[in-house]
């Protein structure tokens, strides 16, 4: 069967004007904003050996990779589904000797194996920052504050942050709120879906207050406090409060103590970022563990933003004025005008028409005239 001309594989697309421009503008703004906090950019490759892409992070999964055999080396390569893992590799190899904490920034394309019905793109633009060697409350405050600042610069209004405690349920299941090991996977699934009915079926109603607490930050903390004191996680709530207090008032904060969606490798804290008018998540992050070659573990915290939902919601576009340069214009004057920010379209022949090039102005005898 022949492939229709122009058909792209599932989940891939061409970005056209003006979105292509908006995407690169947003990426640039984000990287610059992160860079101003002293995070230096690194740029790992699009594909790597499959094993090294998997190796560095705890609980990364093989089945999430788009893999192929390199015809040259005959070894399995994979396209990166996420840049965070590569940052971990850089931190434990080439930058292993640099003093900690290490502040690194990145931005580029990632490729998912599967598109979902809810997010049909397989190729996404990811940008973010990682603080390696420190996952303290102060580190989380720096990362989260930077995420908010960056989103504001990108033009996102009304930011919502959902704070989560990714390893809390697992810790409780092992200690103060025991659930037999064989039932734990089920428990996580039920809690992920906030399925109160499912909890009862698992005889795990002890976890119900955690489900019911999810909501606006202050109320959630209030509901959790008695349970936290009883089950020994009050210090975590205290840390969360310090983090909440560091965020500016305009940011809407919720707390969800059982959320684990996509936080499989996060440790004590995770967060999702939302923006009003944009469907779904626009970024996420949290603390995690990087594993060194000698099995030593190092703590880190970071955040990633996805540029595509921002572009799709219309951010990053700039209406610019286009100036038509007829034949015989002064090239030096045109260069000066471009330096002032004008976009110029130069006539290629006598019949060239400024209208088909969507020009807003025309240069006639050295003067700019609106069209």
């Amino acid at each position: 069967m022949t492939i229709a001309h122009g058909l792209l594989p599932e989940g891939l697309r061409d970005r056209l004007p003006p979105q292509a421009e908006a995407a690169s503008r947003l990426l640039h703004h984000v990287i610059v904003a992160i860079n101003r906090h002293g995070y230096e950019r690194v740029s790992p490759p699009l594909a790597e050996f499959e094993e090294s892409l998997l190796g560095r992070l705890k609980s990364a999964r093989k089945q999430d990779l788009l893999r192929f055999v390199d015809p040259v080396s005959q070894r399995s390569l994979a396209l990166r589904p996420d840049i965070t893992g590569q940052i971990g590799r850089i931190a434990t190899t080439r930058l292993n000797h640099r003093p900690r904490p290490l502040r690194l920034a990145y931005g580029g394309t990632v490729m998912k194996l599967r598109a979902t019905q809810l997010r049909p793109e397989r190729e996404l633009m990811q940008a973010g920052a990682e603080l390696i060697g420190n996952d303290s409350v102060a580190g989380v405050i720096e990362i989260l504050g930077m995420a908010v600042e960056t989103l504001k610069i990108a033009g996102v209004e009304k930011i919502s942050i959902d704070l989560t405690l990714p390893d809390l349920v697992e810790k409780l299941a092992e200690t103060t709120l025991p659930i037999e090991a064989s039932k734990r996977e089920n428990l996580f699934t039920v809690l992920d879906a906030k399925d109160a009915g499912g909890l009862a079926e698992l005889n795990a109603t002890g976890y119900r207050p955690l489900l019911e607490a999810a909501g606006p930050f202050d109320q959630a903390i209030e509901k959790l406090q008695p349970m936290a004191e009883k089950l020994g996680f009050a210090d975590r709530l205290k840390a969360l409060k310090t983090i909440r207090d560091s965020l500016d008032e305009s940011v809407h904060v919720t707390l969800d103590p059982t959320e684990r969606h996509g936080f499989e490798y996060q440790t004590w804290i995770g967060f999702s970022l939302f923006g009003s008018g944009i469907l779904g998540e626009i970024g996420r992050g949290g603390s995690y563990t990087i594993i060194h070659q000698d099995k030593r573990e190092e703590q880190a915290v970071g955040f990633s933003l996805y540029i595509d939902p921002l572009v799709d919601s219309g951010l990053g576009q700039k209406k610019s004025r286009k100036l038509f340069l007829p034949l015989g214009h002064n090239p030096e004057q045109a260069r000066d005008l471009r330096q002032q920010g004008w976009i110029t379209i130069a006539a290629l022949d006598e019949d060239d028409d400024p209208v088909i090039h969507q020009c807003t102005d025309i240069l006639t005898s050295g003067e700019i005239k609106p069209l």
């Binding site: 979902t116 019905q117 809810l118 919502s160 959902d162 992920d192 879906a193 906030k194 399925d195 109160a196 009915g197 499912g198 009862a200 079926e201 489900l211 019911e212 999810a214 909501g215 606006p216 109320q219 809407h252 919720t254 969800d256 969606h261 999702s272 939302f274 009003s276 469907l279 779904g280 998540e281």
Partner: protein, 222 residues
């Protein structure tokens, strides 16, 4: 002004039981909602900030998962079939009880031992759920997706067995079928879109709380 919350209600089985519950939770639909002749799909309620849509049960899950509706009521069968990661089911409403079961013709059941199955051909509205269930049991299931009237599939030779909702078991019996295995108990759940649950927590959390309280009261009486 913020957009109104859209609440999705399924046509059919659950609707009758869901309505009183919705009213008790403080959402009373306009009268056109109850009018069977009405061709409207979107309805106002007593609250200016809440709208109702009436769609098929499977579509409730889809509307809510995509954030086109923020909340809804739907059976756990539908939730399990899609297993959308964006769908929360914070309250078991304790209505619309039934079970999802495997059934086969009486004749077949007489000398059939489900423990010996290695491959089955099943007609069902729930191909994913059915696959998952049989796979976990180590049985390969070939599912034929139907949208209704599963019960006639075995008699016409479309598939040997069916996976469907069973409440009293009367429909099965009338079609010469018997239940041979229960897959899971089903009840209706309040569902909420994940992103809306965070971003509009101020509007949604009190409603969820209302439903929770209603179910709690029902528990005490029972």
């Amino acid at each position: 002004m913020t957009k109104p919350l859209v609440f999705a209600i399924p046509k059919g089985r659950i609707l009758k039981e869901a309505l009183p519950m919705l009213e008790a939770a403080g959402i009373i639909p306009e009268s056109a909602f109850l009018d069977k002749e009405s061709r409207l799909l979107r309805f106002k309620t007593n609250r200016p900030d809440v709208e109702i849509i009436r769609v098929r049960a499977f579509d409730v899950a889809t509307f809510v998962a995509h954030g086109a509706a923020q909340m809804g009521i739907v059976g756990s069968d539908v939730i399990e079939e899609f297993s959308y990661p964006e769908l929360y089911a914070p309250v078991d409403l304790n209505i619309g009880h039934c079970r999802l079961s495997i059934a086969e013709p009486k004749r077949l059941a007489q000398d059939d031992d489900p423990r010996e199955w290695s491959h089955v051909r099943v007609a069902t509205k729930y191909p994913h759920l059915t696959h998952r269930h049989f796979e976990a049991r180590g049985v390969q299931a070939e599912c034929i997706k139907l949208n209704g009237a599963m019960e006639i599939a075995p008699a016409l030779g479309l598939a040997g067995r069916i996976v469907d909702l069973v409440s009293s078991g009367r429909t099965l019996e009338e079609n010469g079928l018997v239940e041979v295995e229960r897959i899971m108990p089903i009840s209706a759940r309040l569902v909420v879109n994940r992103a809306a649950f965070k971003m509009r927590a101020g509007d949604i959390a009190p409603l969820v709380e209302n439903f929770r309280r209603l179910v709690g009261v029902a528990d005490n009486v029972a």
